[in-house]
């Protein structure tokens, strides 16, 4: 009996990251990105791909493969149903995929909680910024605005649309949302020519325009980053728990804005090795310096934390999900 236990322990040891050093050596790890080259998800993946080998046992080659389509549901389906759970395929995709699952979008063939979560490489702070010369200095003043404030958006499912939509419908801010712009850059140009009064979006993408004093930040969602702590949070103005829950639900995925996962049923030792390497990579000073230069700021969230956030998103009572689906559609 004792001997048997020892044997089990020995096997356990053998499968520890130490033994895995051989398993990554000379192999190629592929990061599947659910978007075309050129976007934020792709840029982050390519940045990580260059530093990940340094921290993975055996220093494998890491390459990026783009698998766009269906707002990255295609990539998630592939990772869930096709990719081998051998640690050689990693996926990164749309942070809103949990929302797609929650609202039962057609075509979803994955259970987001069953992926082996490595973690998230960044969070995203959604803010609403309005033209600097508008008379409203604070969110309170904006809420009392008599005249309609026009907000440009790219379309439902994007934070340029959903964030101001909830401000309008749940907090009663006098906004008019005009959607259909081809990109957030396109909205920015509309702000320049005063076609619209402002836009919502990630702080990172808006920052150059805030620094140029074209727009000023006025309110943010739950997720935050340095320099924005004092900006009011939309949820704190919620008139009732239902409204608060809906706003919280919309912003939850922003805490895991660059999700990285392994296929379901990937053996625990491989997951552990990958998690460790991922954490080390994101805290690599060289990578941080490079990220600063490219304005892709990274923020590490562990796999366990990511799973906790997911549970929060997915364990909503039915009536909240129904209410939520009235406002928010899965997209981008």
């Amino acid at each position: 009996m004792k001997r048997r236990q020892l044997l089990v322990a020995a096997i356990g040891l053998a499968a520890s990251p130490l033994a895995l050093a051989q398993s990554f050596g000379g192999k190629t790890v592929t990061i599947i990105v659910g978007y075309k080259p050129g976007g934020g998800y792709d840029a982050t993946a390519r940045l990580l791909a260059r530093y990940l080998p340094k921290h993975l046992p055996g220093k494998p080659t890491v390459i990026v493969q783009n698998m766009p389509g269906g707002n990255s549901i295609i990539a998630a389906n592939h990772l869930y149903n096709v990719a081998k759970p051998d640690g050689l395929t990693i996926g990164t995709f749309n942070r809103n995929l949990p929302i797609a699952q929650l609202t039962s979008v057609e075509g979803v063939k994955y259970d987001i909680t069953k992926f082996q979560w490595i973690g998230s490489a960044a969070n995203e702070t959604t803010i609403l910024a309005i033209r600097s010369e508008l008379p409203y200095k604070t969110f309170e003043e904006l809420r009392k605005a008599k005249e309609q404030v026009v907000i440009g958006s790219t379309g439902p499912g994007a934070n340029t649309h959903d964030f101001p939509l909830l401000l309008k419908d749940l907090l009663g801010v006098n906004l008019k949302i005009v959607s259909g712009y081809s990109s957030s850059a396109d909205i920015m140009l509309a702000v320049e020519r005063k076609e619209v009064d402002g836009r919502a979006g990630s702080f990172t993408s808006l920052r150059p325009f805030i620094e140029r004093n074209l727009v000023k930040p006025i309110v943010r969602a739950r997720s935050t980053e340095p320099g924005l702590e004092n900006l009011p949070v939309d949820e704190s103005f919620a008139p009732n728990p239902r409204a608060k829950a809906i706003m919280a639900l919309r912003s939850a995925p922003e805490l895991i804005a660059r999700p990285y996962v392994l296929p379901p049923k990937t053996p625990a030792p491989i997951v552990a090795a990958m998690r460790e390497a991922f954490a080390k990579t994101i805290q690599d000073p060289e990578l941080i310096a490079e990220g600063k230069k490219t304005k892709t700021e990274l923020e590490f969230t562990s796999g366990d934390q990511a799973v906790k956030i997911l549970a929060e998103v997915l364990n909503q009572p039915k009536e909240i999900v129904q209410e939520f689906s009235k406002y928010i559609k899965f997209g981008e």
Partner: protein, 502 residues
């Protein structure tokens, strides 16, 4: 200002930036030749290489690469009828027809010269526009963009065959194109339209597989059926001889070249319309230069003006597209969005400062476009005989190679088998259209402009109700659109009158 212009040239002529530009040109050269792999994807892949470079070097590299892609894309389009880039499809209509007639050399000569002149005009426009760039771009709001799309759609009238029947077919094909543009999740309500229950179609039809199918497949079938080389029975010696003739053609139609280059620049400046539009508007404009109905019929059968027009527009738009990127930090295309990432990488914030503090760097960008194009055209001119000679290779040797390129090209757009399927389906559609004598150009124009028109119309109405209709530029563009639609009728009438007098 002149000083900065001079300084910009000196910046780029230092040996390191110049060397990096040459490397960029070399990469762009191949990317352009290969169908499917677009300039944007390559820019994204090359971005990591600039980390250690100085700003001037980095932009010499990236822009040098980007600005020659369209030039060499023309070559693939003309020789094989396979669009080298999504932005070089229009040149196929007459360019490849010329190649089949054994005039590949002349077509290449004309296309290369036209794109060189186009690039120079685009760069000159960029340099001249720098002082007035902000008011210029800001005049074009969503209502004006919608009207521009309408003007673009009006060119369907010129792209169709003459006569009532031809017009009806043209506008029907355009309507089909617009309907195809509706495929995918709509940006107002988030509803999935015409996606046939697949995830693949959520983000709409990709332009590359559609274009490759529509244009390349019918040509391949035609080549296989004829069982000869592309240039048929024309003796090898004659094919490349026409290059100089092509160069002369451009100068014979010099004002057309300039007008098409200006169309390209203008489309480039207005962010949101996209490079795929410029070539078709230029082609449509080129067909307007036909003086008699017989001349008009020659378009699509190998009129050199149909090569010059899109050739000139294609490269001139690059200079234009840089304008909104530099002046506002707002990119006019995917490629420019990636280039913008390059700016950040180097610690530069595009915006008004690029026109004041960093003016010399801005001018070095202009010079890069000019130099890269001059170099490419010279190199292509040297290779011209060999390239044109390819049209004399027997079809059964060429077809497998072209097929591989075609399918790899369309597969690279999404890396999905559905890409191949789309290519095949549109290949079938394209073949049937050719056989039945329906024009393909209006379909493409509808496809490229449909979404733009829809979105900007929605924005205009949502933002301004009906008041946008009274904006002066909108009214002016409406008049232009009406004129464009009516022009073929006028053309036909003038033609009739001439023949009566004769």
């Amino acid at each position: 200002m002149l000083e900065a212009l001079w300084e910009g040239l000196l910046l780029i002529l230092q040996w390191k930036p110049f060397a990096f530009m040459l490397v960029g040109v070399l990469v762009g050269f191949w990317v352009g030749l290969l169908p499917g792999i677009g300039g944007a994807t390559t820019l994204a892949l090359m971005l990591p290489f600039i980390y250690t470079m100085q700003p001037v070097e980095a932009f010499a590299f990236l822009l040098g690469m980007h600005s020659v892609v369209a030039t060499t894309g023309d070559i693939t389009s003309i020789l094989f009828g396979v669009p080298g880039e999504a932005t070089t499809a229009a040149i196929i209509l007459d360019g490849h027809a010329m190649a089949k007639r054994g005039e590949a050399g002349r077509a290449l000569g004309a296309a290369l010269t036209a794109s060189l002149i186009g690039a120079l005009i685009g760069a000159a426009a960029l340099a001249l526009a720098i002082p007035i760039v902000r008011p210029l771009v800001l005049t074009f709001g969503s209502p004006e963009m919608f009207m521009l799309a309408i003007v673009g759609l009006a060119f369907i009238a010129s792209l169709s065959a003459q006569g009532a029947r031809g017009m009806v077919r043209g506008f029907l094909a355009g309507g089909l194109g617009m309907m195809l543009a509706m495929v995918g999740q709509d940006p107002q309500a988030g509803v999935a339209r015409f996606t046939l229950g697949t995830l693949y179609l959520w983000q709409g039809l990709d332009l590359v597989p559609v274009l490759v199918g529509l244009f390349a497949i019918p040509e391949i079938i035609d080549l296989a059926v004829r069982g000869t080389s592309i240039a048929g029975g024309v003796p090898a010696g004659r094919i490349s001889r026409g290059a100089l003739e092509g160069v002369k053609d451009v100068f014979r139609n010099f004002f057309l070249t300039i007008r098409c280059a200006l169309i390209g620049t203008f489309i480039g400046i207005t962010p949101g319309l996209g490079g795929a539009v410029a070539q078709w508007m230029a082609y449509g404009h080129a067909t307007q230069s036909a003086r008699t109905p017989e001349e008009r019929k020659g378009f699509g059968a190998g009129d050199v003006r149909g090569v010059i027009g899109p050739g000139a527009a294609c490269n001139s738009k690059e200079g234009g597209a840089l304008i909104p990127t530099i002046a506002f930090g707002v990119p006019g295309s995917t490629s420019m969005a990636i280039l913008l990432g390059g700016f950040f990488l180097l610690g530069l914030v595009p915006g008004p400062e690029m026109l004041t503090k960093h003016l010399a760097l801005t001018f070095s960008l202009v010079w890069t476009i000019v130099l890269a194009n001059v170099i490419t055209v010279v190199v292509c001119a040297l290779l011209l005989n060999r390239l044109a000679g390819l049209t004399n290779v027997a079809g059964h040797r060429l077809i497998p190679v072209i097929l591989v390129l075609v399918f790899i090209g369309s597969f690279t757009s999404n890396s999905q088998y559905a890409d191949i399927l789309v290519t095949l389906v549109f290949g079938g559609v394209g073949y049937l259209m050719v056989v039945a004598g329906w024009p393909r150009a209006p379909l493409v124009l509808g496809l490229v402009l449909g979404k733009i028109a829809e979105n900007y119309l929605y924005i205009s109405v949502a933002r301004y109700d009906a008041a946008w209709l009274a904006r002066p530029v909108v009214v002016a563009l409406l008049v232009v659109a009406a004129a464009v639609v009516c022009y073929p009728v006028f053309q036909a009438w003038r033609g009739r009158r001439r023949s009566q007098h004769a």
